[in-house]
C-alpha cells in the first residue's frame, strides 16, 4: 500500500466482505513492528468512537492492570446518522479483527468480544463468518466472541456496553473519576471502536511512519465520515484528516452551500455554513467548539429550519435516555418541550426560549454518562448557529421553513410513544 494515498480503510473494498485469504493478500504486511505499543504511540491514533481519546494512552492504562483482561470492539453504532462501522464490518471485518488481536497482544488480553447490534442481521452474519474463518485457520491468539446487544443510542456508550457484557443490562455506569477502568467481573476491559481497531490493524501491519503519511501532524491518518442530510445518497467516505469540509461535501455530492452542517453526531455540534473551509480535524474545528466525534456530517440546506431540526433530534435523544439519572430523564424531555414551543406556533415562545437557556445550564454535566452533556452541547451550538432563527421563533415569527415536511437530521421512528412514560 502506498504511503500517502487513499483509500486505506476502504482499500479494495467491494460489495462483499473480504475473506481471510483475500484479506491477507490485499494487506500483505510490509514490516512487522518490534513493539506494537510504541508504534501505536508514535502513530498518534485517536479513538474514532466520539470521544477522540488517544488509543495508546488508553491501551497503556489497561496494560498496567493485572489479571485476566478483555478487548471489546464496539461496533454498536448508536448514532442514527452514522453508518461507518457497519460499512467497515461489511467490507473489512478481518482488518477490524486484526486490530483487535493487536490490541489484545498489547494489553495481554485472552478474550476479544465483538459487539454488533442485533438489529442489523447482515452485519451480525458477516462478523460471525469472519470470526469462524479465523478460528478455522488457527487456534492461537485470543478467543474471539460475538455479542449482539439490542440497539439503543446509549447501548453503544462504553460503560453501557461493558455493563451488557457483564450483566445483560445496556445501562451506563457511574464512574467516580475519569479515566476509569471498566471491568467485566474483575477483569479490566479495553473498549475501542471498530474503526479504531481497523486503524490499529493498519498500524500493526505497516507501521506508524506509514500511518502518519496522511492527515495532519496532530490528527494523523484517515477517517470514515457518514454524510447524510441534503445529499444525493447517504454515503460513507474515507477522508484524510484535515481535508476541507467543502471538499468532503463535494465528493459526497452534497449541497456545498449549506446553511449549516452537524458534525460529530447527535451529541455533537452544528457548524455554520460559512466555516466550510475549515479542515476536518479536531484542531481546526476545535476553534469553533466542534469535534469530529463519531464521524457524522449532516448537511442542512438553506431552505430548512434549524430550530425544527434541533427539536426533532432532541426529542428523539430524550426518548433514548436510559432514564437512570434524574437530570437526564426529566431534563431532556423538558428541553424537547421548550424546543417544541419554539418551533411550532405556541402561546409563549419567548418564555420557552428563556426557560431553555436556563435549563441548559442546569442539566450540563449531571448525568452518569455523557448523554445529557451531548444534548446540551448540541442545543447550545444550535442556539449560536441559528441565533437569528431562534430569535425570530421566540418572537412568534416562525419561519416558513419550519412548516416543511422534509427533514434532514434523520431520526428513527418513535415507534413506541409510551416510551416516555414510566411508572
Amino acid at each position: 500500500m502506498q504511503r500517502n494515498a487513499l483509500p486505506r480503510l476502504m482499500h479494495a473494498a467491494s460489495t462483499r466482505p473480504l475473506s481471510l485469504v483475500q484479506h491477507e493478500e490485499v494487506f500483505a504486511t510490509t514490516q512487522r513492528p518490534a513493539s506494537l505499543i510504541d508504534e501505536l504511540d508514535a502513530s498518534g491514533l485517536t479513538g474514532r468512537g466520539g470521544a477522540g481519546f488517544p488509543t495508546a494512552i488508553k491501551a497503556r492504562l489497561i496494560r498496567e492492570q493485572r489479571g485476566h483482561k478483555f478487548v471489546v470492539v464496539n461496533a454498536m453504532e448508536g448514532e442514527p446518522a452514522s453508518h461507518k462501522d457497519q460499512t467497515m464490518l461489511s467490507t473489512h471485518p478481518q482488518l477490524v479483527l486484526d486490530g483487535a488481536e493487536y490490541l489484545a497482544a498489547i494489553i495481554g488480553a485472552k478474550d476479544v468480544a465483538v459487539c454488533v447490534a442485533r438489529d442489523n442481521p447482515t452485519i451480525v452474519n458477516h462478523m460471525e463468518r469472519a470470526i469462524h474463518e479465523r478460528s478455522r485457520r488457527s487456534l492461537r491468539g485470543p478467543k474471539l466472541e460475538l455479542h449482539t446487544p439490542p440497539w439503543r443510542y446509549v447501548a453503544g456508550e462504553e460503560s453501557a456496553l461493558v455493563h451488557w457484557l457483564d450483566d445483560n443490562e445496556s445501562l451506563p455506569q457511574f464512574r467516580v473519576s475519569r479515566p476509569h477502568v471498566l471491568r467485566i467481573g474483575h477483569a479490566p476491559v479495553l473498549v475501542d471502536n471498530a474503526e479504531t481497531c481497523a486503524n490499529v490493524g493498519l498500524i500493526g501491519r505497516f507501521g506508524a511512519e506509514w500511518y502518519r503519511g496522511l492527515g495532519t501532524s496532530k490528527s494523523p491518518g484517515s477517517a470514515l465520515v457518514s454524510v447524510t442530510g441534503a445529499v444525493r445518497h447517504p454515503i460513507v467516505l474515507e477522508v484524510s484528516l484535515g481535508t476541507p469540509l467543502r471538499e468532503i461535501l463535494a465528493s459526497a455530492e452534497a449541497d456545498t452551500n449549506p446553511q449549516a452542517v452537524l458534525l460529530g453526531g447527535y451529541g455533537g455540534s452544528w457548524l455554520a455554513g460559512e466555516h466550510l473551509d475549515l479542515g476536518y480535524c479536531n484542531e481546526e474545528l476545535g476553534l469553533h467548539g466542534v469535534v469530529t466525534g463519531a464521524g457524522v456530517i449532516v448537511v442542512l440546506p438553506r431552505n430548512a429550519c434549524g430550530v425544527v431540526e434541533t427539536w426533532r433530534v432532541v426529542r428523539w435523544m430524550a426518548n433514548e435516555s436510559a432514564r437512570q439519572c434524574g437530570p437526564c430523564a426529566f431534563g431532556l424531555p423538558a428541553l424537547g418541550e421548550d424546543l417544541k414551543h419554539l418551533s411550532t406556533a405556541s402561546r409563549d415562545p419567548l418564555g420557552a426560549f428563556k426557560r431553555l437557556e436556563e435549563r441548559l445550564g442546569e442539566i450540563d454535566g449531571r448525568g452518569a454518562c455523557r448523554h445529557p452533556d451531548g444534548v446540551v452541547r448540541f442545543v447550545r451550538s444550535a442556539l449560536s448557529v441559528f441565533e437569528h432563527d431562534f430569535n425570530n421563533h421566540a418572537h412568534a415569527h416562525a419561519c416558513a421553513a419550519s412548516r416543511a415536511t422534509t427533514h434532514y437530521a434523520s431520526v428513527p421512528h418513535l415507534e413506541r410513544e409510551e416510551e416516555l412514560v414510566w411508572e
Binding site: P172, F174, V176, G326, C328, E362, R366, A368
Partner: protein, 78 residues
C-alpha cells in the same frame, strides 16, 4: 468534640444513578446543594476546605442522611 484541623479540601459527589431526588441533601447541606426544578441536587463543584468545620459537618450529615446513599465526600488532591 474537639476541633479537628485537617488539611486539604473535599467535594460532595452524587451518584446520579442512585439518586432518586428525595431532597434530603438540600435540607441538610444547603451550603453545598441546591435543587433543580425536578428535585434533583445540583452540587457545587468547588472544593471546600476541611477546615470549614460547619460545612464539613453538614456534608457528613447529608452523606449519612441520603436515603439512597448516593452521596459521598471525596477528598480533592490539590
Amino acid at each position: 468534640m474537639g476541633v479537628r484541623r485537617r488539611s486539604g479540601s473535599f467535594i460532595l459527589q452524587v451518584n446520579p444513578i442512585l439518586c432518586d431526588g428525595f431532597g434530603h441533601c438540600g435540607e441538610l447541606a444547603p451550603e453545598l446543594v441546591t435543587m433543580d426544578e425536578w428535585g434533583y441536587p445540583i452540587i457545587t463543584a468547588e472544593p471546600t476546605p476541611y477546615n470549614d468545620a460547619r460545612v464539613h459537618e453538614s456534608a457528613r450529615y447529608a452523606e449519612r442522611g441520603c436515603p439512597r446513599q448516593a452521596l459521598r465526600i471525596r477528598r480533592v488532591s490539590d
